[in-house]
Structure formats: C-alpha cells, structure tokens
C-alpha cells in the first residue's frame, strides 16, 4: 500500500512549510518593536522614553496594532449613505426592497407647488437589523440619494440601534461605496479615505431644478381650462 505517491505528497507539504502565511490576523496583530515603530513611525528610543511598558512588550513581540482588511470600492457595507437634499421621498427604494424594511413618512411641504409640491420627510428609517445588503434599493433610487456604505464593523447591543433613522443617516460621515454608482468608479476612488459630504458631486445627474420640473409637468399635465 505504501509507495511513491505518499512520498510525493510529503514533499508537497514540506515545500509549503516554507512558503509565506496567507492568512490575515483581523482585529489586531501582535508585533515586535521594529514593526511597531514603523506602524506609528516614531524612532525606537522615543517609544522607550514615552511609553516604557509598550517598549518592554515590544521586545517580546507582544504589542498589538490594529489591522485593516483591504476591501474593494464596490463592497456593500452596512451603513447606508443618504443625502436628504437629493431625496424626493418617491419611496421607490422602499417599494423595491425585497424585505420591505425601509419606512418613509412624509407630509406636504408647500414648496414648489406648480411642480406638484415636494414632500417633506418626517421619517426615513432603514432597519439594518433585517437588511441583507442586496443593494436593490440603491439600484432603484432615481436621484442617487441613497448609496451603499463601506463599513462593516457595526454590531451593537440593542436591536433598536440597528434601525438607522433620519438623524443618524444625515449626521454620520458619508463615504459611499461605488456599487451601482459608476460616477465613483471612474475617479481613483478609495471609499475609506475621501468621504463625500455634500450631495453635489454624489449624483449621476443633477437634481432637476424648479425650472426644468415646471416645463416637464406643464407639458405632461393636460391643461383643461
């Protein structure tokens, strides 16, 4: 039963014994003194003066430094990026979501009456606790108001915090992923560094000005006396 095939198998594993490790230590990595000084780019003796405890730990290679996994711009992260001034509350995203977890409540705002009066958004909730991040809502949004996020470390202790309401959506830093957003695709775009606060350069096409809306509606609406 024992023959050459087994020895060949052993040689393969022996060869792989010396090839580099391909796994990544995710949350943080234990690292020696040199790598630690490179990480915080401070010379070694300064570390000794400032933080002797870390210096000693560094000597035996036990200093922990955080590790960032490289994602790709199209990654569908789970913190949505929403520009409220672009959003016209047409709720096509809520309609298009397979799980129906986007909840929008509006009231008449009184502006822009000729064009059929914009809505004012009271409530715009996305329940990321039940969301599967398929991105169909982002695909359905006609005005590029809603984008997928890039962060995935968003676990917390209560289910209620998972529901992103209007305030958190507008207040959190906005770095949209380039999923179904070709306008981000073209530039050398790295979603983690450059966040895009204002909505001007976030949309494929500009939000229709009042003038354009008026013409469109006037032609479409049958003017019967």
């Amino acid at each position: 039963m024992l023959g050459i095939g087994l020895i060949k198998g052993l040689s393969v594993t022996f060869k792989n014994l010396f090839s580099p490790i391909f796994t990544i230590q995710y949350p943080d990595k234990k690292v020696g003194l040199l790598a630690f000084s490179k990480h915080i780019n401070k010379p070694i003796f300064k570390i000794l003066r400032e933080d002797p405890k870390k210096f000693v730990m560094g000597l035996i290679g036990m200093v922990t430094i955080p590790v960032k996994i490289d994602q790709f711009p199209r990654f569908r992260g789970n913190e949505f990026v929403w520009y409220d001034d672009r959003c016209t509350a047409c709720a096509s995203c809520a309609k298009y979501c397979p799980l129906g977890i986007i909840e929008i409540v509006t009231h008449e705002s009184g502006e822009n009456l000729q064009a059929g009066e914009n809505y004012a958004i009271d409530k715009f909730d996305i329940d990321t606790g039940r969301c599967m991040f398929c991105g169909l809502c982002v695909e359905a949004c006609p005005y590029d108001a809603l984008h997928m996020g890039t962060d995935f470390e968003r676990s917390n202790y209560s289910r209620v915090d998972l529901v992103l309401d209007k305030e958190t959506l507008t207040s959190q830093t906005k770095n949209p992923s380039s999923w179904f957003r070709p306008q981000f695709e073209s530039k050398e775009y790295n979603p983690w560094e450059d966040n895009i606060p204002d909505s001007k350069d976030a949309g494929r096409h500009e939000k229709p000005t009042d003038q354009k809306i008026k013409e469109k509606w006037v032609n479409k609406r049958k003017i019967n006396g």
């Binding site: 039963m1 023959g3 792989n16 234990k30 290679g61």
Partner: protein
C-alpha cells in the same frame, strides 16, 4: 538517578541520626518519589511544549500562523489551555457508569508516564534500570487499549463504542508486529535491557535493521492512534470517538495522554533505533532531544499530509504486511548473527549489509501484494451508453 538520590539521602540522614529500623524502606520510597517527580515534570514540560509545537507546525504546514494570541508567538497557549481545562465544568453523562468513567483517563495517562521511567536521558540519567525493560515497554503500551474501552463503554454512547471496538482490534493486531520487530535488535545486542541496547549502539540500529525500524515506526503510529491509523477519533465519522462525553479535566487528561504518547513513542523509537543519548561531542541529553524532536516532526509531517486508512485496510496491513516482514527480519538477523560471531572486528558492517540485501526487497513484494488492483479504464464513453445514437421518431416520420 535513583541510586544517586538514595546515597545523598543516606549521607544526610547519617549526619543527624544513626541507623533506625525502617530506614531503607523510607529512603527508597523518598528517593523513588523524587526521581519519579523529576521525570514526570520533565515530561509534562515536554508535553506542553509539544502541544504548542504541534499546533504551530501544523499551522505552518497549512500556511497559517497557528496559535499566536497568548504569550510571544503563542508560547503560553498550552498553559492557557491547561488552566482553562482545569476550571471547565466536568459533566458526567446520566447513564454513565461513574467509577469506570472516572478511571478511564487515568488508565490512559499513567502508562505513558511509566514508559519514561525506563528511557535513559543521559549517561547516568535514568530513573530505573530493569534488565527486561524492552519487554516492560511493550507490556505497558498495551494498557492504553483497555482505557479506551473503559471510556467508551462507561459513557454509554453508541459512536464511542464504534471507536472503542476499532481501537481494540487495531491495538491488538499491532502489538505483534511491534513486539516481533524488537526481536531483531535483541538478537544483535543480546540483552533485553534498554541501557545495554543504548550502550551497544555504536552504530544506530536503524542502519542495521531497516525493516524492523520501519515496522516499529508504523506500529507505534498505530499504538498512539496517529494519522494513517487514527481511527479511534476519526474526525469525519466518529468526531473524537471515545472522548465525546468527556469534558473538563478528564478530557484534559485524555488530551495530555495523547500528546504525551506521541513523545513517548518518538523517544522509545529514538532510544531503540537511533542510539538514544550517545552522539559524538554534545552531552547525552541534547542528542536525545534532537532525535526525539526529529521523530516527532516526522509524525506531525505525516499527520499533516496523509489521509487515514479504513479499519479493514489497517488490519490487513498489520496481519498480511508487517507481521510477515518481522518474521523475515528475524530469520535473516538470526542467520547473520550466527555467521559473524563476536570474533571479527567489523561484525556490525556485515550484519547490516546482509540485512539490507535480504529484507528490504520483501518490503516491495508486500507493497505489490497489498496494492489496490488498478482497473482498466474503458476510454471510449460511447461503449458505455449510446448517447445520440438513435434518430427521434418525428424525423423518421418527417422524411
């Protein structure tokens, strides 16, 4: 080591108080306990290092880094494991037979430590010197089969019974090749005690007795349930077999026993076949550790690469393969020992050559006999099934 401690104790005692009645009983007890204490702690340290070493080496084989969280490069992992296992809850299943359930782990661990009492670590460094220590090692290793049965039967778990019956069949059928493979060495070194074998081994026995070493290595792999033969805790079928219902320190003892058995097997192999502590200029203890680590590395290397046999193939290999090899080896060695008596100087060289020429070809004969029959592949698939051979009815009608 035992006499050495005994003499020291005697001198100290004579300083204070003169002779009293039960003096030698007490002294032997204390000296024995002390030397046993030294050996057990050495082995326990070795086992903790071996657990860490095995997990990291397996990691390196699979291009991952292995445990590296506790201590620099993960060196304190096995300490953390030991502490965790001590404080984990110790569940005894409801229908378990309490007493046998508790004894089983001890039955596995104690024999492994007893083996180390016989192995010489250095020139004078051995716990005890029995003149039949080779036989003693064989006797001790057969107890572990008993412990696996106790563990499986007591925990009243059907899958564990499978693993127990497999382990009994395997251990018994591998006792014989292992035992007989030692006969070759005893013939040459004319003494059963491991000390004499080690002293005799100017030339390591692996060169003199290649087939005996090969059979002994495979046999000891089967004894400690290591990879080509690890059927007792075959992960894919039995999922830790007899250890299924153990938790807490009892499971810790099984875990410890398994890794200690690896070190025991590699140290027995290195003393009997690789010449134990004697080597050119390093002290004895270093040579032994180098050889033990080398054999231990080969065991891990095999564990990382080869899949496992099925139970009937394991037994076939034992009865139809290794058993015959040892018989051939005994015949050839006895002939060579008679021809070249002690008289002429390079006696070992002739025995080695004679052995290599006659026994090694038998290994390839056995391999050809046990090889799985290769079937002839019918290359032409259409002979098997006529795909697209007929014309559908509507085309016939159509014409």
């Amino acid at each position: 080591m035992f006499e050495f401690i005994y003499n020291i104790l005697e001198n100290i005692l004579n300083l204070f108080v003169s002779e009293f009645k039960f003096q030698n009983y007490i002294l032997t007890f204390i000296a024995g306990a002390l030397s046993a204490f030294i050996v057990i702690n050495a082995v326990l340290g070795g086992v903790l290092a071996a657990i860490w070493g095995e997990r990291r080496l397996l990691g390196k084989f699979q291009q991952r880094s292995g445990p590296n969280r506790w201590g620099p490069m993960g060196t304190l992992t096995s300490v953390a494991d030991a502490v965790k296992v001590m404080f984990k809850e110790d569940i005894v299943p409801e229908e378990a037979d309490k007493y046998i359930f508790n004894i089983a782990p001890l039955l596995l661990v104690v024999p492994v430590f007893i083996i180390f009492s016989v192995i010489p670590f250095g020139v004078g460094l051995y716990a005890v010197d029995i003149n039949v220590s080779a036989l003693f090692i064989l006797a001790i290793t057969s107890i572990s089969g008993l412990s696996i049965i106790c563990a499986a039967w007591a925990s009243a778990n059907r899958i564990a019974i499978f693993s127990a019956l497999r382990s009994v069949a395997m251990l018994i059928s591998y006792e014989i090749p292992v035992g007989l493979s030692l006969v070759g060495i005893l013939l040459i070194s004319e003494s059963m005690s491991v000390m004499d074998i080690v002293i005799f081994q100017k030339v390591p026995f692996i060169l003199l007795q290649p087939v005996a070493a090969f059979v002994f290595f495979l046999g000891s792999l089967a004894e400690i349930n290591r990879t080509p033969f690890d059927l007792t805790e075959a992960e894919s079928e039995l999922a830790a077999g007899y250890q299924n219902d153990y938790s807490g320190m009892k499971w810790g003892l099984f875990y410890l026993g398994e890794f200690a058995a690896t070190i025991a097997a590699s140290s027995v192999f290195s003393t009997l076949f690789l010449g134990g502590p004697n080597g050119p200029f390093l002290p004895g203890i270093f040579w032994l550790t180098i050889k033990v680590v080398a054999v231990w590395f080969v065991i891990i290397w095999i564990r990382a690469t080869w899949p496992r046999f099925r139970i009937d193939q394991v037994l076939n290999l034992a009865w139809k393969g290794l058993f015959e090899l040892t018989l051939v080896n005994i015949v050839v060695t006895s002939i060579s020992v008679i021809i070249w008596t002690d008289s002429d100087p390079n006696r070992l060289l002739y025995i080695a050559l004679f052995n290599w020429i006659f026994t090694v070809p038998f290994v390839f004969i056995i391999i050809r006999l046990l090889k799985t029959k290769d079937y002839v592949e019918i290359k032409e698939p259409s002979l098997i099934y006529p795909v697209g051979s007929e014309i559908p009815k509507f085309e016939k009608v159509g014409k």
